[in-house]
Symmetry: D2
Subunit: 252 residues, 4 copies
């Protein structure tokens, strides 16, 4: 049975830390959060994974192919270089939504996000056997955002993209797919099990409601890295006019 | 006349760069974007400013007190260390929304975001005289998110926070205030001219619609750094139960 | 035949770049060099390797276990995020000195360090078969530097450590071992083939000439990571007084 | 009376931290040290200063124009983002050597580098009044290193540069100037009070002993940034053959 493996990464007891002894400088917190995300991205992607910044204090990684020892090595590297610790929880399931439910539940069982005792926990499902690894990622982007950027107030475009983000989240929730904003006009959608017809319908719905056109390259393979690369090849075909479809699937 | 000064920071011709010669590795782009934001945060905050990651390819900074030479030094430092260049445009106005409109228009006049000629432009309003610098920031956070984090699937909490984000953006748009998500359950709102009553009404509206409680510390002063610090003092008073208000103003 | 594999990492055409169009800001160059080293350290160490900062524009990595594809992935990640490119050359031999000779010669054959055509070259020996991987690292540190730091001018201690550095380089050159300063009072010495007696003699020679005492943990294994960890275990035994030896070997 | 102001930056109780509870991964320590240096370089240089990596656990910054509050802000930013704390001590004197003596003594008075009580101390001379700020920096580089790099084993060139480093340190010690290796074939020499004749003599001595030719641009001004920029202009004149001198002075 093919499964996607997700890792929930949670900074331990972060809220209280940010205000102890006084509220730490906002600019330092922003820098810390961005550096931590960039570091985790490097550490997971060196092993074929992909991390999404999500809430920054809680991040989600696609971690197929990354075993428990590698997770521990990643934690250790962060603990050696940051003033905070991270707990991680691994979940694997047929759909991304279910995988994050399992990862969340496992983490909740070992202690609260505000516990002072829970430091650097590593829990969750056993990682899956190699022949069950499967990741489908849809990479969606919005057409013509550069002309918006060149003609409208920048904040209006930013707000429009947040509307697209939320609409995609809501629509794809029904298919147990997750939506992550990756900057610019890009969304990455772990979407095992979602087909071309469903994606096409969601794209049309967004177009009807927000008057923006989306296209999607969808890649599948044993790791997040491979799936993301294939998704980009799909996008490229659409962009270069080599197909009339708005959704192109590629399998590794 | 008191004004907020905003700087629009735009990566030059970024979209085409990300796919030349082939689509660059997604993990590298995520790392690059996060590092670039973290670096700009350091460079602006060393001068009293504050940057929001916004779309990552387009960022907005509160830059009161930061003159044209300092902007040029920041650009130079980035150009010396990154494979991309940044254009910047400074806008100042009585409201944040109007300031970003001015900044956007000035940048649009010097060339497209996809121009290959526009590299490292610096444009916009003259920076404002020191006695006109004024920044009001509301720091909003959501109550009880840690118990959500400890009981619900992590993605559901993430989605709820995105709903709060969009609702705040829409509501504050009427008051010409901007809303930036700063991770966790936090929102920073440059909001010159918005009063306690308006913020209170917006908070109640969010509570009615999404069943989440918000509180707001609001700080004002000559720089973003000072305003953000005072906003946090306001939040602290509410958190510690030293007031029954949900919105507390502090002026530097 | 057991071999150490070294990778020479050279910034392409760096000298001219630093002064084009004018001499770039010194602080930016220092930041760039340190960030580049830190990134390479992360990228190699995620794969079991270890990088030394060496000259910063030329770095040396112990890369046993890291194949050609992984080298290419590391180059790509750097090229996507930095304004410069890197050429790399892999050399493997029974001694570290010979390995870096082979790596250097291979790189010299594909073009000059100041060539504008040579960009991102990857050359050198085929990487060695897994059963031939062997790394010996001696980790040397100086005793009582903290009391020097607490009693003498900081620059005098710095200068003394540079004298130790050069003396070790000269002495170990005869045994075809390399010496890298890793900060503080620490030296890492890739030293395949060097025995306890030789190290002991060198330590005594440094003590006679500079009046400082050194100790050495020496680790060996299939990767730099393992060898470095074992070397530290050796050091720990000496530090904790569990042996009267000044040189302790550990094999993985 | 014109003075150079130096800041000694010392990681608190670093040695014990690196081995608690076990010896931390060498690659993590190398990454941490390089990131910390890069961050301090950014923080000091945003304020006109310049940091040298020195021993990594002890760094020296030229800090003319940077007051006590700015030092405290730099410490705070590091403490908010790293697992270690830094103590700093400011010294000002007519010569760089004397300035670091004063800085060191002041730090030694407030506690040992291995004290568990001393965390984030800030001590030393009062910062000097603006009209007394004076920094002279000589930027030396070695001619023809690229042809060495292209013809000799890389480690031999590295070793030769370390010999140049030590010889310069020893020779300039007599003039109370400090020598810092800044990578490649470059040395930065805070050298208030050292004249062209002395530098010329030292360069000739190195040439006689090591058969390498050096040139020096020497800049002076109120800040390290200005002095370093002027030094580079001097170097440029020599490189471009606009003078027959090997040492060129520039004053801001």
């Amino acid at each position: 049975m093919k499964k996607i493996q997700l890792t929930l990464i949670q900074i331990d007891n972060y809220g209280p830390w940010t205000v102890t002894p006084v509220h730490r400088r906002e600019a330092d917190l922003q820098t810390l959060q961005a550096e931590l995300f960039a570091d985790l991205e490097r550490l997971f992607s060196a092993r074929g994974g992909l991390v999404f910044c999500t809430r920054f204090d809680n991040m989600i990684a696609i971690s197929n192919g990354i075993d428990v020892d590698a997770h521990r090595a990643i934690q250790e590297s962060i603990h050696n270089r940051y003033p905070i610790t991270l707990s991680m929880s691994i979940g694997a399931a047929e759909t991304p939504y279910e995988a994050q439910v399992l990862a969340t539940q496992a983490l909740q069982r070992v202690g609260s996000s505000r516990s002072v005792e829970r430091r650097g926990a590593l829990t969750g499902e056993c990682v899956i056997p190699p022949d069950e690894d499967w990741v489908q990622i849809a990479h969606l982007d919005v057409d013509h955002t550069s002309s918006m950027t060149d003609s409208r107030p920048i904040y209006d475009t930013h707000m429009l993209l947040q509307k697209v983000h939320l609409l995609l989240m809501e629509a794809l929730r029904d298919y147990e797919a997750l939506v992550f904003y990756t900057g610019g006009d890009n969304f990455m959608v772990p979407s095992n099990g979602v087909g071309a017809r469903e994606l096409q319908a969601i794209i049309e719905d967004v177009q009807r409601k927000l008057k923006v056109e989306l296209k999607a390259g969808v890649g599948s393979g044993a790791t997040a890295e491979l799936a993301a690369r294939l998704a980009n090849q799909g996008l490229k075909e659409i962009r270069e006019g080599r197909t009339t479809e708005r959704v192109v699937f590629k399998t590794g």
